[in-house]
Each structure stands twice: as C-alpha cells, then as structure tokens.
Amino acid sequence: MSADALFASIAVATGVLVRRALSHLRYDAATLENKINATLPQTQCGLCGYAGCRPYARAIATGLAGINRCPPGGEAGIEKLSRLLKINTTSLDTSRGVTKARAIAVIDEVHCIGCTLCIQACPVDAILGAAKQMHTVLSRDCTGCELCIPPCPVDCIDMRPLPAGIH
C-alpha cells in the first residue's frame, strides 16, 4: 500500500470518527434542550427575552443565557435548573419580572369588541372567538402569560386569581 493511500484511509477514518463524535454532541445538545424545556413552566410569556420556553431552553443549552431569567418558574425553577445542569443557583433576575401566583386572564365580555388581537397574541390558543364576535378565555388552558393584555384596544382583559377546581 502506498503512503498516499494510507494517509487517505487515515483521513477518511478520522473524518468518520469526528463526524460521529459531533453527531453525538448535537444529539446531546438536543436532549439537554428537551430536558431544560421540560423543567420550564411552559407559560410561554416571553419575559425571559426569548419567544417562548423552548427558545429560552435552547439558549440555556447552548450557554447563551443564564438560568435566572424565568419569573414564572421563580426560585424553585432556578433550583431545578441548577440541579439539572449541576451549576450553582443564582437569584432571579428581577429586571425580567417578579414571580407571581398563577392567575388567569378573564375577558370582560360586555366590553369586548371582537377585534381578535388577543386571540393572535395568545401563545397557547387559549382564547376563543371570531372577528366582531365576543371572545372568551378557556380558563383551563390559560397559562397566565399576560400577553393578551397589551394588544387589547379597549383594556377589557383582567388577570384574576385561579378559581378553585382549576389546578
């Protein structure tokens, strides 16, 4: 066997090994993202600065974001993340928001003009209605993200404490 052929086969073998190792790494990043996402409360409020829980999970998994940017998760959430990632806990970044008890959005149906803006804003499709028809919140599915409040042109959405019977 000539030296060229030897080098070529070594190069190919190394390439295969590196590829495999990399695919393993990618696989790990994806599972880590899933694990982190499973820890996040799925409020989808975007207070962390990302467009939902999964993008934030991705940012944590790739080292782009700290674990203290999720107000709905609160200190308990930070502790869970620190345990998962085996890193130290940090206190919640309150510039992102403060932890509140879970509340649900309630539309004042007398004043709703049926503009559908809240429906478009809801990240979990928990608002029901159609153009020029009254809208209502499916309280069982509302995560309390408050994203429907700013777009409402008539300020007819309020956050109310969780009624009994809805966990």
């Binding site: 003009i113 599915d141 008539v154």
Partner: protein, 507 residues
C-alpha cells in the same frame, strides 16, 4: 386456624379503647343545624341538587355524584336548606369547602326507603345504586365503593378481606359496630362477596376486641356463608390494607400497585354495614358511628347525623374544662383541628379531646442520629431517616426515589424516634407537594403541546401565504384609496373611544 405471615415493622402503643367501649352506641339527638360538605369522599365533589329555601326529607339526595369518582350526599333528617356556602370542614390544613346547610325541623320525616332487589339486578345496576346511596369506604380513605368495585384489574378476585382490625388507639367505632350489629355487618359482607365474586372471605379482627370477635363468630355461624374469622395479634398498623393483606395472605402488594391486581379486595367492616343498609333497607349513608373520647367524662360511641358539629358531640360526652385541643381520627394518623365547630363527615371515625395529661406537649425535635429505629418500625419497608433528609431539604425528586409516595403516613416512625422528629409530617407534606408537582407538570406538558401546535400552524399559514402570493403576481394590491383608509381608521378610533368611555363609566 389460618396461618398468619406477619409484616415488617409495627409498634405497640397503648390502646386506650376500653374507655369508650364500656357504654353502648347511643343515637345522638337531632341537631338544629346540619352542615353537609359536598365533598366527603375521595374524588370529585357532589353537585348540589337542591336550592336555598328547599324543604328536604330524611334520605333525600341533596348532592348528586359529579362523576364515577364521586358519591351522592343525602339529608340525614327533614328540614330546610338555608344556605349553600363555604364552611370549615375537618381537614389537616384548616380547609373550607362548599357545604349544604340545613335547618332541621325536628319532625324527621323520611322518604320511602325501599329495599333494593339485589338478586334481580345486574352488577352494574347494583354499583350505580351504591353510588346513589353515597356508599364510600369508611376505613379512612373514603374512596367511593362503586368505583372501587367497578375498576377492572384484569384479575379475578380470589379473596375478600373484611378489615375489622381497627388498630389505631382510642378508636372503637368498628369494634362497637361489630359487637352490637354483627348480623348486619355479616349480611353486608355477603353482598360484597357476591359483588367481588370472591371464593374466600376473611374477616380480620384484632385480639384486643374479644366481644366483637365473639359476636361476629356467632353471626357468621348463623349466616352459614362460610366466612372465616381471623384473630390478629394486636399490632399497629395491622389495619393498613397492604399490611393486612400481607399478614393474611403473604401477598406483598408493591408500591404504586393495588391489591385487586393480585386478586385481593379489602373493605372495612363499617363499609360492609353501609352496603347492607343501602341494599337490604334501601337507606343511604346519612349517619355514621363516631367515637367521642379522650378528655371527656363519658367517652363513648354515637351514631350521629352527618353534618352534626363536633362541638355538639363533645357536649354530649361532657367535655372536661381543661381540654386544650381536638384531634379528628386517632392520635397517630389523625390531625388536630383549631375548633370543633366543624361537621361530622363520612371519614371521621373518632374525635379526641386532648389535655396536657393525655397528650403532653411535643418536646422540641433533636437532630436525627440515624439510629435506624424508624426503619425497623416502618410497616411499608421504607427508610424514613433518608426520606426525612431529602424531604427536609425539599429535594422532592430524591425523596420520591426513596419511595416517599409509598409512605402510608401511619406515624409508627414518629412514635419510635428517640429524637422525637415528626417524620411522617415531612412525608405527608412531600407527598402533597409531589402530587401538586405532578399536576403542574401535566399542565406544563399540555401548554407545551398547545404552543408547539400553534407554532406549526403559523408556519403552515406562512408557507401557504408565500405560495399564494407567488401565484398571484399579476394581481394588483387592494385598491382602497387613501381617503377610504382614513375614513375607516377614523371609524375604528371612534368605536374604540366609545367602548373605552362605556367601560370607564360602568366601572
């Protein structure tokens, strides 16, 4: 004699049962007011079927079952519904719940109770009847009996265990029931045997209740159903369902599994009695027998209307003036309540008035020295000292790894702990938190799914939109002139300001 197999752990606390067993069961007088919680069972609360102002008769359904995992609630006497509102109910965490409040009229007028034609009905019809009669397990968990009997575990039941162990100190309601009304209990057992289609029936009673044993033995002989009565050595907690099954059959039901999966079904003797009344007499569960004991002059068992306040019961037994608190249930598994102004519910088998002499105040807990006595006492074969470590550190996952969910909260570990650590309190709390966490996780999973489905939908719209735009290159954009747009915008603004004005004026 049946061979007994024993179970791990257990303790021998002083029984304190003789105080309340020297007097017969007395019918408590009708109270002037009854508070009936809509949730007196595991599962979903009943739905009120009466309205404020309605006149109700004894035995009338006032709450209908909300689902399979629910049971009906009945008026224990005649009277008028004066309110349906939240009221303090007996619970470990000072809970209030929606209750139907009835002002009784003293006439005790009843609906017609007609015996249920058991032999002519299908099994499903009998179970529906039991649910409509509000029959729930009276052993403590108040699990709806119909739901328990209808669950399919893919396994025929070979053994029916009737739990008359009543192993917890102070409580004597089952013992007195078996002593005074053994025939009714045995007939109830026969109905249960039929419903379970069980070959063997074992009635288990601890040897510290010789009168109950004798009465039940006579009743079983007279009945001729071939039920076996087994005398258990007195040991706490031999009345725990899994412990009792292990003791009698040597079947060890693993954590997270249920006895019927192994061919064994277990019912409390009080439940058998309710089933007898529901079928043979057509009477719903309107009363229960409760032991009123502790720091009272005449400790005894009362058959009282559900909804009667504990305070009235304590007055009947003449509470001593130096009483400093009350426990609902036994001293090991029961809980303290702030005030006895709470209604008697299906689950309440005992109320104990406490005094400094009977229940000396708890000494401060000392650090765990890992002596392992709790491990030896634990009837569920757990490692309480390790679970305590993790539960205290709020590391729920680790506590769950040590099977804290399998803790039966019997309190045997607290009893033996030389450092007087209230171990089972930590486990109770951890179990509740784990259950809450499981619910939250389920909600988060559902939210994630909704979020992801929405993202997919939006992406699909986006791609469809691009495709349709590409196909319509020759079409001009909408032909609204600037004037028209301005007019439209003005109209929208006017509508918005009108809506705002309406809202501010109304609020």
């Amino acid at each position: 004699m049946r061979k007994l197999f024993g179970f791990h752990g257990g303790i021998h606390p002083p029984a304190h049962k003789t105080e309340s067993t020297v007097r017969p069961i007395i019918h408590a007088p009708l109270p002037s007011r009854l508070v009936l919680p809509l949730k007196q069972h595991a599962g979903e609360a009943a739905i009120p079927s009466v309205q404020v102002g309605d006149h109700v008769l004894k035995g009338q359904t006032v709450g209908t079952p909300a689902s399979k995992m629910s049971a009906a609630i009945h008026a224990p006497t005649s009277g008028t519904v004066i309110a349906i509102e939240r009221h303090a109910v007996p619970s470990a965490n000072a809970h209030s719940d929606v209750c139907i409040i009835i002002e009784t009229d003293g006439k005790d007028q009843a609906i017609d109770f007609t015996p249920f034609p058991f032999a002519e009905k299908t099994r499903a019809e009998v179970l529906d009847h039991l649910q409509a009669m509000g029959v729930v397990g009276l052993g403590g968990a108040v699990f709806p009996s119909a739901a328990k009997l209808s669950a399919d575990h893919g396994q025929p039941i070979h053994t029916l265990v009737i739990n008359g162990s009543e192993c917890e100190p102070y409580i004597s309601c089952d013992s007195m029931l078996m002593r005074e009304r053994p025939d009714a209990v045995v007939n109830g057992v026969a109905f249960l045997q039929h419903l379970c289609d069980a070959r063997d029936v074992i009635i288990a009673i601890e040897d510290n209740k010789p009168e109950a044993l004798a009465a039940m033995e006579t009743a079983v002989k007279q009945h001729g159903g071939g039920f076996q009565i087994v005398t258990l050595p007195t040991m706490y907690p031999s009345g725990g369902a899994k412990q009792l099954i292990k003791l009698l059959t040597n079947i060890e039901v693993p954590g997270g599994r249920h006895a019927p999966e192994y061919g064994v079904q277990c019912f409390n003797s009080g439940t058998a009695y309710s089933i007898f009344r529901a079928i043979a007499l057509g009477e719903p569960v309107m009363t229960r027998i409760i032991t009123v004991t502790g720091n009272v002059r005449t400790p005894q068992n009362y058959e009282a209307c559900l909804g009667m306040s504990f305070r009235e019961l304590l007055n009947l037994a003449v509470e001593e003036s130096n009483t400093d608190g009350h426990i609902v249930g036994g001293p090991l598994m029961g809980y303290r309540i702030d005030s006895p102004d709470m209604p008697l519910v299906k689950a309440a088998n005992c109320i104990i008035a406490t005094s400094k002499k009977l229940f000396p105040p708890a000494q401060p807990a000392l650090p765990c020295i890992r002596c392992g006595q709790c491990v030896e006492a634990c009837p569920a074969d757990l490692l309480p000292h390790d679970m305590y470590w993790h539960a205290k550190a709020k590391n729920l996952e680790r506590a769950a790894d040590y099977s804290v969910r399998d803790c039966i909260e019997c309190g045997a570990c607290n009893y033996v702990c030389p450092s007087r650590i209230p171990l089972s309190q930590y486990f109770k709390k951890a179990k509740v938190e784990l259950a809450v966490q499981a619910k939250e996780n389920a909600f988060a999973d559902a939210s994630r799914q909704r979020f992801e489905q929405r993202e997919q939908r939006l992406a699909r719209y986006e791609s469809e939109h691009t495709v349709s735009l590409a196909g319509d290159t020759h079409k001009a954009p909408t032909g609204a002139s600037d004037d028209e747009t301005a007019l439209k915008n003005a109209a929208v603004q006017a509508a918005l300001s009108r809506a705002r004005a309406r809202r501010t004026s109304s609020s």
